[in-house]
């Protein structure tokens, strides 16, 4: 054998691919063999570097290359499977590739489970988001509803910070209550919105409630309906009924106060009117019998003794009513009332206690002073009659003094008796 052939075979046996000289024995066959091995080397290198685009081409025949091509095919299939997994197909499995198949399949299962968990979490997140969006929409609707309510009602709705210092919301009806715009009202301090007395009163009540809440944690007590006075933009002071509640935050602290203010001027006026009507005689404007009786009770329990009583009885009322008419009779009564009003101070109690009967209470007045009062009545009666034309007033008078509560009934009785004595005496004088 050509020694060069032996050398070529020796190098081939060591895995080298030698250059085959063209003039060596079996040069054509050896060149094919080295070319075949070179093609395998290139194909193997491409496989090892992950280049699956290379093929064996025309040289790719026979079982040696066939095994490499089987490996090439498996790698291409794995590449395809991996792409499917990347697209979300976690049902892909590698089979008949031993330990690698087991590891790969475990990885795919784990990935699939993780993906499923992520999808579930995403779904839950989406549900939560939808729920939040729904809640947000409902909250918005609710806020809008309450805003519309707050801005539609005539009562003023407001919120105040927890330090009782500044308003955080004031509804537009503040303009009709106190004459301020919303901006002016919000920029106003709480203390400025009330009279000093009312501010102190509200502070006192809220401090009591805060203290009670911090001790007991009871919320129900934190709602109070109170009457206060507020200052209007034009300086007027108006009575206002306020309901104040506390808004508690989730950590249990007072977040802010919410209040509803209502103008009660008219109600107060009506109350005053009712009170006046229940204590005054509508014809004369003097106190009535009910007030007189209440006053007697107050005097009995008070320190204003001696107290003198004057009983005054209008003479001739029945005769005027019968002969001239009730209108004239009423005029006579109003005349007597005017005389008595002129004769006494505003602090004295002058009451019409019957059709033609009047009673006067004089606090801290003894018999001497009471006698002077009788004299004063006579003077004013005379003055009145000078100007009254043909309807002169004639009043019979009697007085008595009580020095203690126990004397009151007898003093009244005595004054009444003296009034009758006066009436008889004056009638006799007129006859005589």
């Amino acid at each position: 054998m050509d020694e060069r052939v032996a050398s070529i075979l020796e190098q081939l046996s060591k895995g080298r691919i030698p250059v085959v000289p063209p003039d060596v024995d079996y040069a054509v066959q050896l060149a094919r063999l080295t070319s075949y091995l070179d093609a395998i080397r290139h194909f193997t290198l491409a496989l090892s570097s992950g280049d699956l685009s290379q093929t064996m081409g025309q040289a790719g025949m026979g079982p040696v290359v066939g095994s490499l091509k089987a490996l090439h095919s498996s790698l291409k299939h794995l590449t395809w499977q991996t792409k499917q997994i990347a697209l979300g197909d976690f049902s892909q499995r590698v089979e008949f590739m031993g330990e690698f198949a087991e590891a790969f399949n475990t990885m795919v299962v784990t990935l699939g489970e993780s993906r499923a968990e992520l999808e579930q979490a995403y779904e839950r997140l989406n549900e939560d988001m939808m729920e939040l969006q729904l809640m947000s929409a409902e909250l918005q609707q609710s806020e809008e509803r309450f805003r519309l309510i707050a801005e539609s009602v005539s009562d003023v709705i407001w919120t105040l910070d927890a330090s009782l210092d500044s308003f955080t919301y004031v509804s537009p009806s503040i303009a009709s209550l106190r004459g301020f715009t919303v901006d002016e009202a919000i920029n106003e301090k709480f203390a400025q919105a009330l009279t000093p007395k009312s501010y102190a009163y509200v502070q006192d009540i809220l401090m009591q409630k805060l203290s009670f809440y911090s001790e007991t944690g009871t919320l129900d007590s934190f709602s109070e309906r109170i009457e206060i006075e507020q200052v209007c933009k034009d300086g007027r002071i108006i009575p206002v009924e306020v309901v104040i509640s506390a808004i508690i935050s989730t950590d249990g602290n007072i977040k802010e106060f919410v209040g509803i203010s209502r103008d009660i001027t008219e109600r107060k006026r009506e109350e005053e009117k009712l009170k006046y009507e229940s204590t005054h005689d509508s014809m004369t404007g003097l106190y009535n019998r009910a007030y007189f009786d209440d006053e007697l009770g107050r005097i009995a329990n008070g320190p204003l003794f001696p107290v003198s009583f004057i009983v005054a009885d209008l003479d001739g009322l029945k005769r005027v009513n019968d002969s001239i008419g009730h209108e004239a009779g009423d005029q006579l009564i109003r005349g007597a009332s005017d005389v008595l009003k002129m004769a006494f101070r505003g602090s004295d109690v002058v009451a019409r206690t019957g059709g033609d009967e009047f009673l006067i209470i004089l606090n801290m007045t003894d018999e001497e002073l009471a006698a002077k009062s009788i004299g004063r009545i006579r003077i004013y009666q005379e003055q009145y009659n000078k100007n009254s034309g043909n309807m002169p007033v004639s009043i019979s008078l009697g007085t008595a003094t009580a020095y203690s509560a126990g004397d009151i009934p007898s003093a009244l009785k005595e004054a009444d008796k003296r009034m009758y004595d006066d009436k008889v005496s004056r009638k006799q004088q007129r006859v005589g």
Binding site: M61, G62, G66, S67, K69, A70, S73, H77, D89
Partner: protein, 177 residues
């Protein structure tokens, strides 16, 4: 049908596979691969002898197409996409012991698919004759793809055990009608 043949004894249909539960209560569904190959290559020998190798290839290709369609209709059925088809086909081929199907490329949009079948029932382990043998498989795969997509494919075996490879590789290209 060739001229002169006027009657058929066994026009192929799925029922011709028979009731194996009834017919083979003891031996069951399975048999040895050699028996399958004994039948196939004895047939091929007679066909090649009588009609020549090319015509024998055409007969096996047509028979494979018939078998592929029957398998699709009876064991695979309509699939949502090509990946589902491949998974189902892999499962059927494996369960029936036909071969291990692997995919190298499946681009149905561009009408190109490349698959390999390892441990092929027809050829794995055969002597290296230097000639691709699996014309039955070519027809089989063409029928599967047509049944699935409605398009006609040309399937060509490019690597075969009989040419020294260790796995059979088939390329399928859609026919532009």
């Amino acid at each position: 049908m060739p001229e002169g043949i006027i009657n058929r004894k066994y026009k192929f249909n799925w029922d011709l596979l028979g009731d194996l539960e009834l017919g083979r209560p003891n031996l069951g569904h399975n048999m040895r691969v050699e028996v399958y190959r004994l039948m196939q290559y004895s047939f091929r020998d007679v066909l090649e002898e009588r009609y020549g190798a090319d015509e024998a290839d055409r007969v096996f290709h047509e028979a494979g197409f018939l078998a592929g369609k029957a398998i699709y209709d009876n064991l695979i059925g309509p699939q949502g996409d090509v990946n589902e088809l491949i998974k189902k086909l892999q499962s059927v081929l494996k369960d029936m012991g036909i071969g291990i199907l692997r995919v190298e490329e499946a681009d149905l949009d561009n009408g190109r698919i490349t698959v390999t079948v390892a441990e092929d029932l027809d050829c794995s382990g055969l002597p290296d004759t230097g000639v691709e043998l699996c014309t039955f498989d070519e027809g089989f795969l063409a029928a599967i793809l047509k049944s699935f997509s409605g398009k006609s494919f040309t399937v060509k075996e490019v690597d075969c055990w009989c040419t020294g490879d260790r796995t059979c590789r088939f390329t399928a290209v859609v026919n532009e009608d």
